[in-house]
């Protein structure tokens, strides 16, 4: 390291800019990539299930293949997001780490509750109600988690997305199961993709 008292303004500014760019690249979780990954999963997953129930009379539910596809897609998305998050957050402690643990726990507990409720009401409610809980339930849960994350992280796009997902999910109460799938795919998955584009634009503008 060479002592350089004669550093020019441009040199100082360049050092600061380079350090900032590098730090943001290494330490900031890429929100557009995360939203894009989830958007594609929701769009393709719900879309595949919708395709499998089109023309079903009476409604029997999504095919095993489409459900398996959802799990595979979700598995890839979870793995990709975990890698991204781990890279950005390695060595970072403090408040963000605590909030991340809260969010992960909320996801896990939320899905567990959803599965338990589905199993509990399985034989005693209409196919439409069961479809709402099983199909739109994850969307509503995702919305609530994003609202929680937005409160913890003071993240406005996440608040907007979360509120939208809750509205879309709960409005599925009035829809038939195939329409629930189509709505979740387009309005749910589409919202993630739109937020990804907006976040990418905001990030480009900020830099």
């Amino acid at each position: 390291m060479v002592e350089n008292q004669d550093m020019s303004v441009q040199e100082a500014a360049a050092i600061a800019a380079n350090a900032r760019t590098r730090a943001r690249k290494e330490l900031v979780i890429s929100a557009p990539v995360v939203y894009m990954a989830w958007g594609l999963v929701w769009l393709a997953g719900y879309g595949a299930m919708w395709l499998s129930v089109r023309g079903q009379h009476p409604y029997r539910g999504p095919s095993g293949v489409s459900i398996a596809a959802v799990f595979v897609l979700a598995g890839f998305a979870v793995a990709a997001v975990l890698v991204l998050v781990h890279r950005a957050t390695a060595g970072v402690g403090g408040q963000s780490a605590r909030y991340r643990r809260i969010i992960v726990a909320s996801w896990a507990i939320g899905y567990l509750i959803l599965l338990v409720v589905q199993a509990a009401i399985g034989g005693s409610v209409s196919a439409r109600t069961l479809a709402f809980v099983g199909l739109a339930g994850p969307l509503v849960l995702a919305g609530l988690i994003y609202i929680l994350a937005s409160i913890l992280g003071r993240d406005r796009p996440a608040l907007v997305l979360g509120a939208w997902l809750v509205i879309v999910g709960t409005s599925c109460t009035w829809l038939a199961p195939p329409a629930v799938l189509a709505t979740c795919a387009l309005a749910g998955g589409g919202a993630f993709l739109l937020i990804a584009v907006i976040e990418a634009g905001l990030g480009a503008h900020a830099s």
Binding site: M7, G93, Q95
Partner: protein, 111 residues
Amino acid sequence: MVTLATLRDGDDLSFPRLQELLGLTPGNLITHLRKLEDAGYVTTAKSGSGVASRTSVSLSQHGRKALDTYMAVLRQLLDSASTNGASPHSRAWQARTESARPCSRIPGRED
């Protein structure tokens, strides 16, 4: 300091990760951090013991304000230099911004 400023308020960065990001040797980084800590710009904390011990570094509020001031001054100087076409290589500039230049004392590096 620019690297630490990327973190949110309330977050800290482990010493090894900071070292990796800055590409400094441990000795160099400790020297820089000591100066910044003496100036009140960063805080270091040690937790755990033995193999599980962890040294973390975070930017203080004072450090964040000082960095913001420094960056604002840099921007002003760059703007005026591009407007006037004048060379910024002046001791007068250095003297004027001395108090708002927490990072320039660190030779050639932004922590």
